[in-house]
């Protein structure tokens, strides 16, 4: 598998365990981007000439491909953004700002990434909405039934539940097929937004079966180029929402004083998008489908089991996340007793082991766990048992350096 990824050829000693931050890119994706610039580059939705028409067609084909990848009903339900962060901002400021009122409740969870917290904090300041954070269980799962404790009058004020499908720190996968019906039963009008940034690279996602209203994700975490994201939303929602970014390409008619909006999806795609990136993303989706998400999942679950066994054997190491591999991604946040995560990463880096450290853009979760940060190793389809073994050797080295 690693031979498909030129970065591994060019860095033979690298033990890359930071795919939750960003994935490496297979040669075919790099070639697709390069090929577009070399042979087909032109702007889309603008020119009459052949080259522009071809680029437009290619770009719109990717929209269809993404729609089919997540089983959306219509390609116009796919909005291309700069990344999952922008997608969530479109939900907050395109939908939330228009439809939420003072006293309305947005439900989120303590395991959210800042990208799914701060837009809502901003709306809280702006509109006076309230935020309700779902807590964790003792084994690092989402305790979503905690919502039952909310008085009935307050439950009726819940307008949106916005949750990550998987935690970028704990690896916990939230069972959306249980959670979404549970909330919709409380109030069928309530909207459900899913942050798929962490789960999309690993797990098949079917928006029609899930019946979620919004789904956001990023291409760069699933073998695609950086600077490309997707917002899926149900057609009628997109039609009722306000655009969030204004400018070229998103209008129907403009006078000196007035402007009217283009139909969806263009209404949400002001300015020239990352055309080459979107085209590269299509190749990434093809690559993922060729290997098969089921096979990726199987490989990762085996590795996760192996890593969990190895972590369980480690003394003076705390793992923050579920101890069994069901409904769990291969994300391992850990600390070595008394050693700061930066010092862990520094020692690991000497053996060319790349892990992330710090708060992982989840400060409320860090506060819940009672730590300032963790070291985090995360795997993807190209990782091997050998990578996990090297990580374990690296952790032994950390203990030795810090005299344990």
């Amino acid at each position: 598998m690693k031979q498909d990824f030129p970065l591994f050829k060019n860095n033979p000693d690298l033990v890359y365990l930071d795919s939750s931050a960003t994935s490496q890119k297979p040669q075919v994706v790099i070639d697709a981007v390069s090929n577009f610039y070399t042979n087909s580059n032109s702007n889309i939705h603008r020119g009459i000439y052949d080259l522009s028409q071809k680029a437009t067609d290619k770009f719109e084909e990717v929209r269809k491909k993404v729609a089919s990848f997540i089983n959306a009903k219509d390609a116009s339900e796919i909005i291309f953004t700069a990344g999952a962060t922008e997608s969530l901002n479109v939900v907050a400021f395109g939908w939330g700002r228009k439809f939420l009122k003072k006293g309305d409740i947005v439900v989120l969870s303590v395991m959210e990434h800042h990208a799914n917290i701060i837009p809502w904090i901003q709306l809280k300041k702006e509109l006076g909405i309230k935020l309700f954070y779902l807590p964790l269980t003792k084994d690092y799962r989402l305790n979503y039934k905690e919502i039952a404790l909310l008085p009935l009058a307050k439950k009726k004020r819940i307008k949106l539940v916005t949750l990550t499908n998987a935690s970028n720190v704990l690896g916990t996968v939230n069972p959306l097929d249980e959670i979404i019906p549970y909330f919709k039963k409380l109030n069928p009008e309530m909207k459900i937004c899913v942050d798929g940034a962490q789960s999309m690279p690993h797990l098949p996602t079917n928006v029609s079966e899930l019946d979620c209203d919004f789904l956001s994700f990023s291409a760069h975490k699933m073998l695609g180029p950086s600077g490309v994201g997707v917002l899926y939303a149900k057609k009628e929602l997109l039609e009722s929402m306000d655009p969030f970014i204004f400018g070229g390409g998103m209008i129907k008619k403009v006078t000196k004083e007035e402007a009217t909006w283009a139909d969806i999806p263009e209404k949400f795609e002001a300015g020239t998008p990352n055309i080459a990136g979107v085209i590269g993303f299509a190749t990434a989706l093809d690559y993922l489908q060729k290997i098969g998400l089921e096979n990726i999942q199987k490989h990762e679950q085996e590795l996760t089991n192996y890593a969990l066994e190895q972590f369980a054997k480690q003394k003076k190491v705390t793992l923050y996340g579920p101890k069994d591999s069901n409904n769990r991604l291969g994300v391992f946040s850990f600390l070595v007793d008394g050693v700061h995560p930066h010092d862990i990463a520094e020692i690991l880096n000497r053996s060319h082991i790349a892990v992330r450290t710090g708060h992982h853009c989840t400060q409320p979760l860090m506060q819940t766990l009672g730590v300032v940060g963790t070291a985090r190793a995360s795997i993807y389809l190209y990782n091997t048992k050998e990578d996990i073994n090297k990580l374990m050797e690296g952790i032994e080295e950390v203990k030795k350096t810090f005299r344990m």
């Binding site: 050693v339 700061h340 995560p341 930066h342 010092d343 708060h359 400060q363 940060g373 810090f402």
Partner: protein, 124 residues
């Protein structure tokens, strides 16, 4: 063989930091954060007749930032504010006697920057 970064002096000050704690009834009390890692340092101390008579730090930080805070506080305790003002960033890094990457330089200078701010606040 000594570790090139986690030298004896660093590990010693990491395990047994000097001036670790809080000075009661202090003349200055500042907190500084490193947003990259979420680390925090709180500096408290007393100033008499233009001299730093007491200083203490607490916080969450890596071995480099803790050792740096320990060494720097030892270095400036008892000195006059005027002479502390002349201390440069490089002087702090020299105390550690190690080569640091740009990211870790921030860890080492967290204590220095928070003391600068404490001094500015005090003299206002």
């Amino acid at each position: 063989m000594q570790d090139p970064l986690y030298r004896e002096i660093i590990l010693e000050h990491w395990q047994h930091p000097q001036n670790y704690g809080i000075v009661e009834n202090s003349d200055f009390d500042v907190e500084e954060f490193n947003p990259l890692c979420g680390d925090m340092i709180r500096l408290t101390g007393k100033i008499k007749n233009g001299k730093l008579t007491e200083i203490a730090f607490i916080g969450e930080g890596c071995a480099i930032s803790k050792a740096s805070a320990s060494l720097f506080s030892e270095e400036i305790k008892g000195e006059s504010l005027e002479s502390i003002k002349k201390v440069k960033e490089q002087d702090v890094l020299n105390l550690l006697e190690i080569e640091l990457t740009p990211a870790r330089t921030k860890c080492a200078l967290l204590v220095y920057n928070s003391f600068k701010r404490a001094q500015e606040n005090y003299e206002k």
